[in-house]
Symmetry: C2
Subunit: 213 residues, 2 copies
DNA sequence: TTATTCCTTATTGTATACAATAATAAAAGA
DNA sequence: TCTTTTATTATTGTATACAATAAGGAATAA
């Protein structure tokens, strides 16, 4: 294994997380430490640390002294996640000052553009990645580190949701276009309008069709 | 060491957390694994797991390959925490249904009463503990597991804030009385009024006097 | 066949040893 | 004296060994 991080635990964590978020390990699947250790060619120690960290993020469920399984997301939990997500992003919109918007506009615009590009070439994984980065940048622009930390954790579950429930629809491309409108409304300081749009935007991005909030 | 949990890691985690939240280990203090291992009479392994978990909760800062220190909270971060807290609790108020309120009212009333009692006998630690439990119960009544998880994490930082900044004032006793009003407003379904009161309540509970949000 | 007990295996939990790195102190050079 | 280099120590990172527990299956009794 070629080390390109600071330590093995961090590497394994990143690797394992991406494997779960790509659906390579599926919900409910057992992931014994020994097995992963052999697969990644390291000892159980860094594996164990990575798995436990993923446990903190809710990506794996750890049954003490038994085993760890990749977590699943129920419909109810999916709706719960979407509801909290809306609230946090709306708080971010409220907190964004013109100055902080200015400082983050370049990032926002770049991710919006790259998300659009991914949609144009029908790169589904790319859409989700760039969309995530757009929304993370928006929250970052709030300049509230606690809000960012909280949102960052939630974002991981949102990614898992997207993979698990295969949240891709043809209409998604239309909703991606809303990123531009969101930026415009932010620039014009029309916060209430922006929040209303965000509500609609997130519902369509995050929720299974028939889900009611 | 008398084991009374499932495993040592969890025990050490709980113990270390409470020591930090009681101010026994102060912000900025180095906590070498070996040192803690001797203090608790166990090997480095469970210590290490506990410390890394506390790192995920933001109670310790881990400098890779160097050392871990108990984290400190800046004034800016304190304000950030309070702002997010207000938002999350107001979301909880919005989500509480009459049915779920009913199911959690006994807990709410009990913690409110015990908080009041702690104030009467001037038990400062008790006030904070029961107050925390009151607010956690309120969030739990929202029946949104994601909201609860997110809030639970934040709550740990709130406790740290209270210890670090010694957030105790004579007026606190007055604000504790608001718990009763909050419950009444919830029962009457006066959500907007309840949220307004919660805003004021949290500001006075969580913020250093001169802090502006 | 169905339940129950026992044994085997799989898996985690903890301690320990050693390597790698960073912090600290001491020594050398200017 | 002050800076730079070198050596020493403190601390983390990783591998490994073994104990403790849980899971699964085979043997036994009904």
């Amino acid at each position: 294994m070629h080390p390109h991080g600071q330590n093995l635990s961090d590497e394994i964590y990143t690797l394992l997380k991406s494997k779960i978020l790509r659906g390579e390990y599926k919900g409910g699947e057992k992931i014994p430490e020994e097995h992963l250790a052999k697969e990644f060619g390291v000892s159980r120690t860094p594996i164990r640390e990575a798995v436990r960290r993923l446990g903190e993020y809710g990506l794996v469920d750890i049954k003490p002294r038994c085993y760890a399984v990749v977590s699943s997301i129920s419909e109810k939990e999916a709706a719960d996640i979407a509801r909290v997500r809306i609230d946090l992003e709306c708080l971010a919109i409220d907190l964004i000052t013109p100055k902080n918007l200015e400082a983050n506009l370049k990032d926002l615009a770049r991710h919006a553009a790259e998300c659009q590009y991914a949609a144009d070439i029908d790169d589904r994984a790319g859409i989700f990645i760039q969309d995530s980065l757009f929304h993370l940048s928006l929250v970052k622009a709030s300049d509230n580190i606690t809000l960012y930390n909280v949102y960052e954790r939630l974002e991981i579950k949102i990614q898992q949701l997207r993979v698990n429930q295969n949240l891709y629809s043809p209409e998604l491309k239309d909703y991606i276009k809303q990123h531009g409108t969101i930026m415009s409304l932010l620039k014009e300081g029309k916060k209430q309008e922006c929040k209303n749009l965000m509500y609609e935007h997130i519902i369509h991005e995050t929720c299974p069709e028939d889900l009611k909030l």
